[in-house]
């Protein structure tokens, strides 16, 4: 095969933008959570459970987890692109990152709606 470096994948902006938008979503959720915790001040397990059984809280938390996973995927892929130069190894590691993030996303749904 020709050993030529070819660049020009014509993508990248969407991921860069998504990284910023997901960061904003997470920042808003953290502020919201801080306010909710300050106001309702749940002291025991029952109060925590009651707080997270509210539908809006579940949806907000789910949005946070989705943003976190998406943000983590872009960040992890950036790290792998920077440091792992063997294409096969990079692809394998990227697949592992995707699979573990998907696992965490499903797990968070399971926790929130259990």
């Amino acid at each position: 095969m020709v050993k030529r470096i070819v660049t020009g994948a014509h993508y990248g902006l969407r991921d860069w933008l998504a990284q910023r938008i997901t960061a904003v979503v997470m920042a808003i959720y953290i502020l919201l959570l801080a306010v909710v915790l300050l106001v309702s001040a749940p002291h025991d397990h029952v109060a925590w459970k009651a707080l997270f059984s509210e539908q809006w809280m579940r949806i907000a938390s789910f949005l946070f987890f989705v943003s976190l996973c998406w943000h983590a995927w872009i960040g992890m892929r950036n790290i792998l692109m920077d440091y792992v130069h063997a294409t096969g190894t990079r692809l394998t590691l990227q697949v592992l990152v995707i699979l573990s993030l998907l696992f965490y996303a499903v797990w968070s749904v399971d926790i929130l709606w259990s």
């Binding site: 470096i5 660049t7 020009g8 014509h10 993508y11 902006l13 860069w16 920077d82």
Partner: protein, 231 residues
């Protein structure tokens, strides 16, 4: 004044080493380049590039006490001793302080650093208003010394794929030029996870630039242009 200088001659040395020099400077030796030329008068085997000796040609870029800069405009007075001089990091060393800049210029050429305008050449110059010219300020002054690009970790890890701050600053210089007609192609050429988006805005380039330019801001403006045409 004490100096510790990176020495490597691939014909003679197995590996690079640091050589110490202790020299008396004359009152006229004000800049680091003057000191280096004095060292060279004692030891003519020391190799370095220099030309204009006033910060215009960009030949004598090197790593000075851990920071990239031009020897000719770095005053010796403020330097911590021993002054540690190394070649620019991240590029192959040809000899002593001389590096092989092929990769750097390859990336520079990849952004088509010339005006693209398909209109028939006018009788006189293609004029710009003062406002249009102001858009180019901070972008056209680059002397391609490679201080910024070789201070950038993203370029160290992917020199074959990442354009680097110097190349991207030049890319913006033509994107911002009112006389250029190839903005869309230029943005297409840069919309790539490696070519542009290896930049993580750590601003080493801004810290290193001996001309006080801001490649990070130019890269931000390129991303802005991409967002505007997409969203």
């Amino acid at each position: 004044m004490r100096f510790s200088i990176y020495r490597y001659d691939p014909d003679k040395d197995d590996k690079p080493y640091m050589q110490d020099y202790d020299i008396e400077l004359e009152p006229s030796d004000r800049m680091l380049l003057d000191a280096l030329i004095r060292i060279k008068s004692i030891d003519d085997s020391l190799s370095l590039r220099r030309s204009c000796r006033e910060g215009v040609c960009g030949s004598d870029a090197m790593n000075i006490n851990g920071r990239n800069g031009l020897a000719c405009i770095t005053p010796v007075a403020g330097l911590k001793e021993p002054v540690e001089l190394r070649p620019l990091p991240g590029l192959p060393v040809i000899r002593d302080l001389i590096v092989d800049m092929t990769q750097f210029f390859k990336q520079y050429h990849s952004i088509k650093p010339y005006l693209i305008n398909n209109d028939p050449p006018p009788e006189t110059e293609r004029l710009q208003s003062p406002e249009e010219k102001a858009e180019l300020d901070g972008a056209y002054e680059c002397i391609l010394c490679a201080c910024c690009t070789t201070a950038c970790p993203s370029f160290w890890w992917n020199p074959d794929k990442f354009v680097g701050p110097a190349g991207l600053l030049q890319a913006y210089r033509f994107l911002a030029d009112s006389r250029d007609q190839a903005s869309a192609e230029r943005l297409d050429n840069l919309e790539d996870p490696y070519r542009l988006f290896r930049c993580h805005s750590i601003m080493n380039c801004v810290d290193a630039c001996p001309k006080g330019l801001n490649p990070t801001s130019a890269i931000g403006k390129i991303k802005d242009m991409m967002v505007k045409r997409t969203v």
